[in-house]
C-alpha cells in the first residue's frame, strides 16, 4: 500500500500491481527486522535476559575455576573454560528460547503474527536471531576470562577467537533446536524438556563413553557416524585452534534444519 497517499487504490488491479516480487522480499526482510527488534526488546525489557546472562556467567565461572581447575593447569589457554560451554548451553539456551513460540500460542498472538504479510520463515529467523543475540552478548561478557589469560601468559589468541566463534555457532544450534521445540510443543515446560533431551543426545554422542557403547552395540561405523553428529566432536577441533570446514557446515546445517522444521511446525498450526 502507498501509505503516504491517504486514499486507497481505486481498483483491485491497482492493489495487485503493488504486490511485486520485490515488495514481497522487502516485506520478508522487514518482518525479520521487526520481529528481531520486538523479541530482543522482550528479552531486555523483562528480567529474562539479565537473569540468564548473570546466572550463565556465574555458572561458567564456577565450572571453569572449581571443576575445570583453571589455575591448576598451569597453561595459558582457555581449555577449561570452553570445555563446559556445550553442557551449559544444553540447559541454559532452551530456558531462554522455550518462550519464543509457546508464549505466542498461549497468549493468542500467534494469530496476529500469522496474519501479517510475512512468510513464516522470516518470523522464525527474526525470533532465532534475537535469542542468538542474547547468547552472543552473554558470550561477549566472558571477555574478562580472555583478559585474565593474557595477563597470566601468552596464549594463542587466534585459537581463542576461533573457539569463541565456534562456541557462538554451537549456541546457534542449541537455540534453533529449542525454538523448533517451542513451535512443536506449544508449551514452555514441554518445549524445555524436549529441547534438553534432544540436545543431550546431540551432545553426548560425542563422548568417548557413549561412542564405545554404540560401537559395542551397533558396530564402529554406527558409532563413528553418531560421533559426527555431535556438538562436542565439532567443537573439539576449534578448541585446539583448528578451523574445520565440516564443523562450520555441521553447525550451519543444524541451524538451517531446525529453522526449517520450526517453520513447518508453525505452518502446520494453520491447518489445525
Amino acid at each position: 500500500m502507498n501509505i503516504e497517499n491517504s486514499s486507497t487504490s481505486d481498483t483491485a488491479e491497482e492493489v495487485h500491481a503493488h504486490m511485486s516480487r520485490s515488495s514481497r522480499r522487502r516485506a520478508a526482510i522487514a518482518a525479520v527486522s521487526s520481529v528481531f527488534a520486538r523479541e530482543l526488546r522482550a528479552y531486555f525489557f523483562t528480567p529474562l535476559a539479565y537473569v540468564f546472562i548473570a546466572v550463565f556467567l556465574l555458572a561458567l565461572g564456577a565450572f571453569t575455576f572449581e571443576i575445570g581447575r583453571f589455575f591448576d593447569t598451569n597453561r595459558a589457554d582457555l581449555a577449561p573454560f570452553f570445555f563446559f560451554h556445550p553442557w551449559l548451553y544444553l540447559v541454559f539456551l532452551p530456558a531462554v528460547t522455550m518462550r519464543l513460540w509457546a508464549e505466542e500460542i498461549r497468549s493468542g498472538t500467534l494469530e496476529l503474527l500469522l496474519t501479517l504479510p510475512a512468510p513464516i520463515w522470516s518470523l522464525a529467523i527474526g525470533k532465532f536471531l534475537a535469542a542468538w543475540s542474547v547468547a552472543g552478548i552473554a558470550l561477549l561478557l566472558t571477555f574478562p576470562m580472555w583478559v585474565t589469560v593474557n595477563y597470566l601468559g601468552s596464549p594463542d589468541n587466534t585459537a581463542i577467537i576461533l573457539a569463541y566463534l565456534m562456541s557462538f555457532m554451537m549456541a546457534g544450534g542449541y537455540i534453533a533446536l529449542s525454538s523448533a521445540m517451542s513451535a512443536l510443543a506449544g508449551n514452555q515446560v514441554v518445549a524445555f524438556v524436549m529441547a534438553v533431551t534432544i540436545g543431550f543426545v546431540f551432545t553426548a554422542m560425542g563422548l568417548p563413553l557413549v561412542a564405545s557403547g554404540l560401537a559395542e552395540l551397533f558396530g564402529a561405523g554406527v558409532a563413528e557416524n553418531a560421533r559426527s553428529f555431535s556438538f562436542l566432536t565439532h567443537f573439539e577441533a576449534a578448541q585446539r585452534g583448528v578451523l574445520e570446514l565440516r564443523a562450520l557446515l555441521f553447525y550451519s546445517g543444524f541451524i538451517i534444519l531446525w529453522l526449517v522444521l520450526n517453520t513447518l511446525w508453525i505452518a502446520s498450526r494453520r491447518a489445525s
Binding site: M1, A12, V15, S23, R26, I29, S107, L116, P117
Partner: protein, 248 residues
C-alpha cells in the same frame, strides 16, 4: 470487481465420528464501499470463516480472494491488502500502544517517516491519544480493542475484516468506532462480525447471516426486517438462526 470474494470456503475440525463441520462451503462478496455485517449465533462459523479469510487458518476447501489475491495461493499478497482484527484482539501486553503499532508498521515494511505518518493517522482515528505511551497490559478492554483496531488499519488496507470490533466498548467508544468505520467505508470493503444488531442497522449496507456453517440469509438490513413477521431485526435473526440451528 469485488475487493473481497469468499468462494465455497469450508472447514471441519476433528476426525472420524468427532468431526465437526464449522463452515460448509460458504460464498459471498464484498464490494468497495460496502460494510457487510457477518451475523450468526455463537459457534455458527463466523470466526472460523474470518480466520480463513485472514490466512490464519487453512481452509479444507474453497478460497478467499482479497483484492484479487488468493489467500491460499498468494497468502502474503492477499494479507498485504487486508486489515484484520481478530476475536479478542490479541496484543503484546509488554509493549506500549505506540511500540505495538510501530512493530506492526515495521512488519508491513513502512519506513520511519511512513510509520510516523501512519501512527498520527491511526492514533487520531482510533482515539487512543491519551493511552498511546502506556503499556498495553495496563489498558482497559475497550482501549485494547481500539489499539487492535488501530493496528488493523496501520497500513491503510483496502479490505478490513473485523471480528467483533465493538466488543467491550462503552457506548461512547462504540459510537466513535462506528463513526470511524463509516468514514473508512467509502474507500474500503469492510466485513464485520457482531452480535450488536443495532450496529447492523446503523452502519452496515448488507448482512450475511450464517448458522451451522451455512449462509441462511444475505440481504440488506431493511430486507431482513421486511421479511420478518414483526418487522424487527432481532426477530428476523432469531427466526433465521434458531430454526435453522435446530434443523442442523
Amino acid at each position: 470487481m469485488s475487493l473481497l470474494k469468499i468462494d465455497r470456503l469450508a472447514k471441519a475440525y476433528g476426525v472420524g465420528a468427532s468431526k465437526k463441520h464449522a463452515v460448509r462451503g460458504i460464498s459471498f462478496t464484498v464490494q468497495k464501499g460496502e460494510v457487510v455485517a457477518f451475523l450468526g449465533p455463537n459457534g455458527a462459523g463466523k470466526s472460523t470463516t474470518m480466520r480463513m479469510v485472514s490466512g490464519y487458518l487453512e481452509p479444507d476447501s474453497g478460497d478467499a480472494f482479497i483484492a484479487g489475491a488468493s489467500i491460499r495461493q498468494e497468502r502474503e499478497n492477499a494479507q498485504i491488502a487486508l486489515g484484520y482484527l481478530a476475536e479478542g484482539a490479541p496484543l503484546y501486553g509488554d509493549l506500549t500502544a505506540r511500540g505495538f503499532l510501530t512493530f506492526l508498521a515495521g512488519t508491513h515494511g513502512l519506513s520511519a517517516s511512513q510509520t510516523r505518518w501512519a501512527l498520527d493517522r491511526v492514533i487520531a482515528d482510533a482515539r487512543i491519544e491519551t493511552v498511546i505511551d502506556r503499556s498495553i497490559d495496563t489498558l482497559s478492554k475497550g482501549y485494547k480493542r481500539r489499539v487492535g483496531l488501530a493496528g488493523a488499519i496501520i497500513h491503510d488496507p483496502p479490505v478490513l475484516v473485523l471480528d467483533e470490533p465493538t466488543d467491550g466498548l462503552d457506548p461512547n467508544q462504540k459510537r466513535a468506532v462506528r463513526s470511524l468505520i463509516d468514514r473508512m467505508s467509502k474507500e474500503k470493503a469492510i466485513l464485520i462480525s457482531t452480535h450488536q444488531l443495532d450496529e447492523v442497522q446503523a452502519m452496515c449496507s448488507r448482512a450475511v447471516v450464517i448458522d451451522g456453517g451455512k449462509i441462511v440469509a444475505d440481504d440488506t438490513p431493511a430486507g431482513l426486517v421486511d421479511n420478518s413477521v414483526s418487522h424487527n431485526l432481532e426477530d428476523a435473526f432469531s427466526l433465521l438462526t434458531h430454526e435453522e440451528g435446530e434443523q442442523a
